[in-house]
């Protein structure tokens, strides 16, 4: 188990290295430097700037310097916000983004697992068809539509909820959470239903029933553990998707998180910021996928020995 985790952790290092190097090379291949602003600076100034940001050195030296500093948590200065470092900027947005992701995933798990559970216990009945139809809608309505429509309904027509910011006004966390979490709630509902239906048909559930256990005990203690496995295995990819979704949600609701910073950096061609946030997002994605794999292998012993982590 630990060996497998370590093995996986070791594959992260080359992956992150490749990400940094490819990003670096791509940025260097780009036409136009980062200082090609509207105001044309004199060549001496550009030279000074290049020197200040180490852009005059050969590229392998730049990569080496960057990596050396990055390991110590220093992602360099921001190109567009002079005097502020990328690390500072990221750290100011990261807690918000993580909070948004956690709220959304909890919302998605809560809503998704419960409705999936209810549906699986009433297959073919109204309690199955209604939640599953709604979940289909949830999958097909993307956040770029759900967000603005929710804002329109609750913020503009009925004026019951604030539509921008995060933690500034009471209730302003509700709409972003729903916008980001709904699609995953829908997927979780389907995964839970599928997983539960499979487990409920197994022999050990029949044995539990034959022993005369109460239905609640059978469902919660015996079936849910296996039935929820598809959800757990999907948690990693889901959180990775949530992080990408935070670009849109933070933009719609004007939340100062890393996702919005990334989009703004992309607009401003703030290369150090892009590089720093790309590494951060890659690292977080890999980590969450690993965590969900570990959780899945705890719940399902057959994954543990067969190298399910691979």
């Amino acid at each position: 188990m630990i060996q497998l985790i370590l093995k996986r952790l070791f594959t992260y290092i080359p992956v992150l290295l490749v990400v940094v190097i490819i990003t670096f090379l791509m940025i260097h291949a780009a036409p136009g430097g980062p200082f090609d602003a509207e105001r044309v600076a004199s060549p001496e100034i550009i030279e000074k700037l290049n020197e200040a940001y180490n852009l005059d050195k050969p590229i392998h030296v730049q990569i080496y310097n960057y990596l050396f500093n990055a390991i110590q948590g220093d992602f360099g200065p921001s190109f567009k916000y002079p005097g502020r470092t990328v690390t500072e900027l990221i750290m100011s947005g990261l807690p918000t983004t993580i909070e948004l992701a956690i709220y959304s995933i909890l919302f998605a798990i809560f809503l998704g697992v419960i409705s999936g559970l209810v549906a699986s216990l009433n297959p073919g009945k109204i309690l199955d068809i209604v939640p599953m139809s709604i979940s289909l809608l949830g999958i097909c309505i993307p956040s770029i539509i759900l967000g603005p429509v929710l804002v329109l309904i609750f913020g503009i027509w009925y004026e019951v909820l604030p539509v921008y910011g995060w933690g500034d006004n009471p209730g302003d966390k509700i709409l972003p959470t729903i916008t980001l979490g709904t699609a995953y709630a829908a997927i979780f509902a389907r995964l839970t239903r599928g997983g539960m239906l499979e487990i409920l048909g197994q022999d050990y559930i029949r044995t539990a029933r034959a022993k005369g256990l109460s239905e609640i005990r059978i469902v919660i203690v015996h079936a849910l553990r296996g039935g929820i496995l598809p959800v757990i295995s999907f948690l990693g990819p889901a959180i990775a998707g949530l992080l990408a979704g935070s670009f849109v949600v933070e933009t719609i609701f004007q939340i100062n998180g890393v996702g919005r910073f990334y989009v703004q950096a992309a607009f401003n061609r703030d290369y150090t910021m892009i590089l720093g946030t790309s590494i951060l997002f890659t690292f977080m994605t890999l980590t969450f996928v690993l965590i969900s794999d570990i959780m899945a292998s705890f719940l399902n012993p057959t994954l543990r020995d067969s190298g399910g982590l691979e």
């Binding site: 309505i141 993307p142 770029i144």
Partner: protein
């Protein structure tokens, strides 16, 4: 195979409706210049944004452009990006998966290891990166989407090829001394093409969504070109006063994603009934 597929589709109502809707949408997109009642860039500044009326059935935007015409033209770019990105993904995925599956052994495990690693990366970030660096251009848009979206295709093709490579016709071709590339392109790839096309119907809505996502952020298609993502972005920016600019494009886009997802899912379901990850279970 195609005849049986058609027979099967006829029995499934939702699938049939989705298929007809998709075909209808493609026709509409192709015929957009003929159908659209107004010139797409025709501005009527004195009119400004007007609510739906008999003259402008879906209303006009802030510049007085007919929303219905813009949606028609937007469908062209949205579908174009969806289909071309899928084409790029198929090309890469098919070649990669076929090579990996056909040669097997060390080459296979190495190539699949690479797919696993790439799968763990947040590829939206890399697409944004490419667009930022090389320009926000529609060609880079679908190439970069396709360049990151081929992973699942490679896996599916590999599995198919693994099954095919021990078949008699492949072995006889090998005995006759055909080169590996000839066997791959003449014998193996034509045999997996049907499966690939069916699976790729699921990629189209994914890629259209990705295009809309990027255009919504302002990083995809650039005005004055319009795609559904752009229209939703503009609608979201002006929805406080002009709700129709958001609601109509948003509704049509959702409907289209719905139909394409159903279509892809239903087709996959017919092809491989045991697949557990279906929408319609």
């Amino acid at each position: 195979m195609w005849f049986e597929l058609f027979q099967e589709i006829k029995h499934r109502k939702i699938l049939l409706i989705s298929l007809l809707y998709t075909l209808f949408l493609i026709c509409v997109a192709l015929l957009a210049p003929i159908i659209s009642p107004y010139e797409v860039s025709e501005q009527n500044l004195s009119l400004g944004a007007s609510a739906p009326s008999f003259q402008y059935i879906l209303g006009t935007d802030v510049l007085g452009r007919d929303l219905f015409s813009r949606i028609l033209y937007g469908s062209r770019i949205s579908l174009l990006v969806g289909f071309l990105a899928t084409f790029v993904a198929i090309t890469i995925g098919l070649t990669y998966g076929a090579v990996s599956g056909y040669f097997g052994g060390k080459i296979d495990s190495l190539m699949m290891r690479l797919v696993d690693i790439l799968d763990g990366l947040p590829f939206v970030i890399f697409i944004i990166l490419i667009l930022v660096i090389f320009g926000r251009d529609i060609y880079f848009l679908f190439i970069s989407i396709g360049a990151f979206g081929w992973l699942s295709m490679a896996r599916i093709v590999r599995l198919q090829v693994l099954g095919l490579r021990k078949k008699e016709f492949v072995i006889s071709a090998q005995i006759m001394g055909a080169s590996s590339s000839r066997i791959l392109f003449k014998h193996i790839i034509p045999n997996v093409l049907g499966t690939v096309i069916i699976y790729s119907t699921l990629l189209v809505p994914q890629f259209m969504l990705l295009e809309a996502f990027l255009s919504f952020l302002g990083l995809g298609v650039q005005p004055p070109d319009s795609s559904w993502g752009i229209l939703i972005r503009e609608g979201a920016n002006t929805m406080e006063e002009y709700w129709w600019l958001l609601i109509f494009p948003a509704f049509l886009f959702s409907l289209t994603l719905f139909a394409l997802n159903f279509l892809g899912d239903g087709l996959r379901d017919i092809l491989d009934p045991r697949d557990t990850q279906k929408l319609e279970n």
